[in-house]
Amino acid sequence: MSRDNILHKVRTALGRSPSQAVAPPPPVRLRVPEVSMEDRIASMMSHLNELNGKTMRVPTMDAAREFAAGILAGKTALASNSPYLAECGISTLPGVATGITDLGELRQAAATVDIGITSADYALSDTGTLVMLSSPAEARLISLLPFHHLAIVPRERILTSLDELFTVLPHPAEQSSSMVLITGPSRTADIELVLVRGVHGPGFITVVIVG
């Protein structure tokens, strides 16, 4: 349609010619402070708790499984194909469906279960954020459709901040078609600025930190 016309207008307005070189952009500004693992964990938990998320720290993968079993208690769940969940033994708990690779099945399951269980590629302790890259191991809908999202995260994946995330992962698009940062439960304040959780995404989020 209007591609060439618009680009031409832009160039004329800016006084540039096609494929004219560009001065380097301002240097990237990323600051990554040294923060001990214990402090990261504490900060991750307190930020999520402030947002009404639930957090739990467990020493071992077995303990993570036991905690997950306690949350499940008769409810239905869909676990992502994350190898970490399998290693913890969470994918094989009673009531948990997993191993889905077909989109139709995934939609059906994610739309009906009580809990979606995932791991996370990273977490950001400064804000209580989970970073999820879409992959064969992690489908997007599992952290989105169920009303409760349970994430099991080994502690070494906890980074400090956005700055550290973009230092570790300068080009997220090379890894995945979708990177989503999740900071707390879904919320709205569209009616009289009253905060309501779980408007479209999960109303509950529980993050288990292992180690």
């Binding site: 207008k9 990323l30 919320r187 569209d190």
Partner: protein
Amino acid sequence: MSVEFDQKIHTTLEDANLQLAIYTATGRLKQKRVEAVAADSLPDYQELRTQANAIKKHAIENLDHYLEEFERNVEARGGKVIYCKDATEVSDFVLDLAKERGSKLIVKSKSMTTEEVDLNERLEHHGLESVETDLGEYILQLAHEKPYHIVAPALHKTRYDVAEIFTRELHVPNETEPEKITLTARAVLREKFLHADIGISGANFLVADSGAVTIIENEGNARLTTTAPKIHIAIAGIEKVIPRAQDLAVFLKLLARSATGQNLSVYASFLSGPRRPGEIDGPEEFYVVLLDNGRTKLLPDRSKRQSLYCIRCGACLNTCPVYRKIGGHSFPWVYSGPIGAIITPQFMGVSHEPGLPFASSLCGACGEVCPVKIDIPKVLLDLRSDVKKSEAREGLNRLELFAFRIFAWVMTHPQAYEIGGKIAASLAPSGEGKWISSVPAFMRIGPLKAWLSVRDLPPSPPKSFRELWRRR
């Protein structure tokens, strides 16, 4: 300026409930921003603003370069980029695609850009169902209204209004608890998400080095819109492009804090192309519509082009004493408040909306809160002088009336400023000298001064805002 907006201002000022709603909501957002950018919460706030400004400046000055880089990278990952000059081209593209794919149902997440081009109306006119899914936008779509605020679109609606709208349009019991209303919306919209063929989103940032669109939200409706349907179309203004994914660290820290006082919004999605081999979900087709719609008109002027740095955080609205009095529907286009006052006349031409650059008191608050450091007062002054130049050719006209009335009304409701000496209904001017000396200092600038000194006060509203407030 049309009689319609003139009237809108009048009714807004006289509606005590509405005044309270705007005042309370913007006041809370304003306070939350202040806390979120305070030194103990974000020590490098000013540095981040400076960096954000420098990145935007660089991107806009080299816009063609970054648009082409963005386009190349989207296409390398299997997406398509479509440049559209105006509303017709956008709707033609969507309609053609919908027709080719046999699509009937479209879900939309919040996008001011699509409001610009009246996309829903155009799609519905051609028999497609296009559903807004952001709760605020959904309420407004049911009420057949335009957004009141760029961040809190239904800020002017009370829970009772919303309950009534839901009962009327969805035939559900009249329920006034926000939690329950929200759950109703969740259930109704969930069905739409799962059956929609196309999802249309906006974009907060277009990342050139990644070919990615970045979408920031709290509800999860944008994630659903961009994940559940087979086709995702992102519609964004050409000015949204930034050079690198790494720049997002700066913008994400500023945007949510400035908008709602959150450290980060609940969801930030970074989407680059359709689902890849092996990925289980995500759209099969990925399109990015790059819209001009007047933006290229802002580029030639080195000062005024900074209007395009805007990241639509809404902070300038919340802090603006004029917006807080006259509300979002008193502005003639989808963008309201200080940012609306500077971009609307530029998109549409100053002689089309000559009153807007005057819809500000030049108190400077907007420029101070802007996370990308747009010098809004400076751009307003530039535009005022443009208006004056074009008016000089045409003689006095409707502009004077409109702008004058806005100012007069704001001034008769001075509590927002706490300026010395109450200028109220009782203080009618007896002569030009008295009037001009009774206006606050910020009014005694350039063209306004001359203009005020020869004008009479319009009839003042019968009660001041304070009186109305006290009566509650």
